[in-house]
Amino acid sequence: MSYPDDLRYSKEHEWVRVEEGRATIGITSFAADELGDIVFVELPEVGAALSQFGTFGVVESVKAVSDLYAPVSGEVLEVNDALREAPELLNSDPFGEGWIARVALSDPGEAEALMDAEAYAAETG
């Protein structure tokens, strides 16, 4: 299994794409597969302050409710409203159309310290 190599990954199976001090975050295909059919996403509010590894939302599958853990700290600039009507995007395109939020990074070093694609692949076996 290989993962997009322009992203960084947290142990809680979230990914981060950093572009000029702003990060796009989401959950990995590994997380989405583990969850099964995703039927509901509770998104953070625009303007909310995220703290690395703190919870920032909820994703629900048919059977279970799972917390989302912020891979980085910062302020939420934008959320993916498409997920409200189409939570299944997290299953079908978790690294693309299934992005969850865009965040202004408060500490760019945090993303650097996360796993790269190779390490994440090893971590998830």
């Binding site: 099964g36 059919d37 039927v39 509901f40 509770e42 909820v58 599958s61 048919v62 059977k63 409710v65």
Partner: protein, 373 residues
């Protein structure tokens, strides 16, 4: 099947097959069971539109036979198995003296004096203990045999189930109506073929010797190729029964609930004579139950789940017993226990999800009824 040592899970005779099919296996009632093979939603839709195949071998099958088998079961169960003709089955419950539900089950009359009680895997020990105790104390002329470990149960469920099965069996399936059964063969294997199920669709439950389970499953699967068959796990089984308004033991049915609270009063035959729980159940029926099981549909965007509090204008009044996003209807549905005086179609409630109330409305049960032609 392996014996369960403390802490290890039992396996059904189809365990290897589930692994081959790539099933996600989870612990359930002391067994390792498939919760899904591909996707719960896909499996759910397959049962509604084609045919899904379930391994239910973990369930309990208890044979009761003898001259006084009928008298014994009339005493032990809340329903009246004496009204069953041979080949007929009825949904029933085993209750305690106080009317609390020990298990819900289906009672099949196989011969005049031979019955099968098919119960939940999670309650099998409790059901056997209750029946054995009553049998001994009441000195009934009947015997009891727990056949669960040597009986497998393979269940094709869905509108295409009959067409699929017709080619595999010597039985005339048109002569087997809902809640009827007959002994016969399926793919050359002796089976009890029952037209019962827990999905709200037409379907069959095929009881066979555990050693022939794989043969039956593989034959049904092969025949299923032309009928859109998919293997289906317990995840879909739960969403299907909830849409169909069917109760689940552990959620709607517990030792702390009685049949009248959960829309199962019609199953209790108070007039049949003495039976376990009669006095308590008669009292509830006379005064009316304090709580009622209602169907809710969310009017705001949150998914109700078992255990979530139910409120009316901020005041806690009850709790959700089961809830989900309905794959067939696309709505967020729940069953909940609320005070009887607050129940009514159209009544407004709130379900508390992660400490916030979300509006819900009581709707008619079942949420889904299969189309009749």
């Amino acid at each position: 099947m392996s014996d369960a040592a403390a802490g290890t899970l039992q396996r059904t005779p189809l365990h290897e097959l589930h692994r081959e099919l790539g099933a996600r296996l989870v612990p359930f009632a002391g067994y390792e069971m498939p919760v899904q093979y591909t996707s719960i939603i896909e499996e759910h839709r397959t049962v509604r539109t084609a045919v899904g195949l379930f391994d239910l071998s973990h369930m309990g099958e208890i044979e009761v036979r003898g001259e006084e088998a009928v008298a014994f079961l009339r005493y032990a169960l809340v329903s009246d198995p004496g009204t069953l003709v041979v080949g007929q089955a009825q949904y029933s419950m085993l209750c305690e003296d106080d009317g609390g539900i020990i298990d819900d089950l289906i009672c099949y009359r196989l011969e005049d004096d031979r019955f099968w009680v098919v119960c939940n895997a999670s309650n099998r020990a409790a059901v056997v203990a209750q029946l054995e105790g009553l049998l001994a104390r009441g000195d009934f002329g009947a015997t009891l045999e727990d056949r669960s470990d040597r009986t497998a149960l393979v269940a094709p469920q869905g509108p295409n189930a009959a067409a699929l099965l017709a080619g595999l069996t010597d039985l005339d399936l048109e002569a087997i109506g809902t809640y009827r059964s007959a002994p016969g063969t399926v793919a050359g294997v002796e089976c009890l073929v029952a037209r019962t199920g827990y999905t709200g669709e037409d379907g069959f439950e095929l009881f066979c010797d555990a050693r022939r389970a794989r043969q039956v499953w593989e034959a049904v699967s092969a025949a299923g190729v032309g009928h859109g068959l998919r293997p289906c796990g317990l995840g879909a089984r739960d969403t299907l029964r909830l849409e169909a308004g069917m109760p689940l033991y552990g959620n709607e049915l517990t030792r702390e609930t009685n049949p009248f609270e959960v829309n199962l009063g019609r199953v209790v035959k108070l007039e049949k004579g003495e039976f376990v729980g009669r006095a308590a159940l008669q009292a509830v029926q006379q005064t009316g139950p304090a709580r009622k099981l209602v169907g809710l549909e969310m009017r705001e965007n949150a998914i109700p789940r078992a255990g979530y509090p139910v409120q009316v204008q901020g005041t806690p009044v009850g709790h959700v017993t089961s809830g989900t996003l309905s794959p067939t209807l696309g709505t967020k549905i729940a069953m909940a226990l609320v005070p009887a005086e607050l129940a009514g179609i159209g009544s407004a409630f709130e379900v508390v999800v992660r400490d916030r109330p979300y509006r819900a409305e009581q709707v008619k049960l079942p949420f889904y009824r299969r189309p009749r032609d």
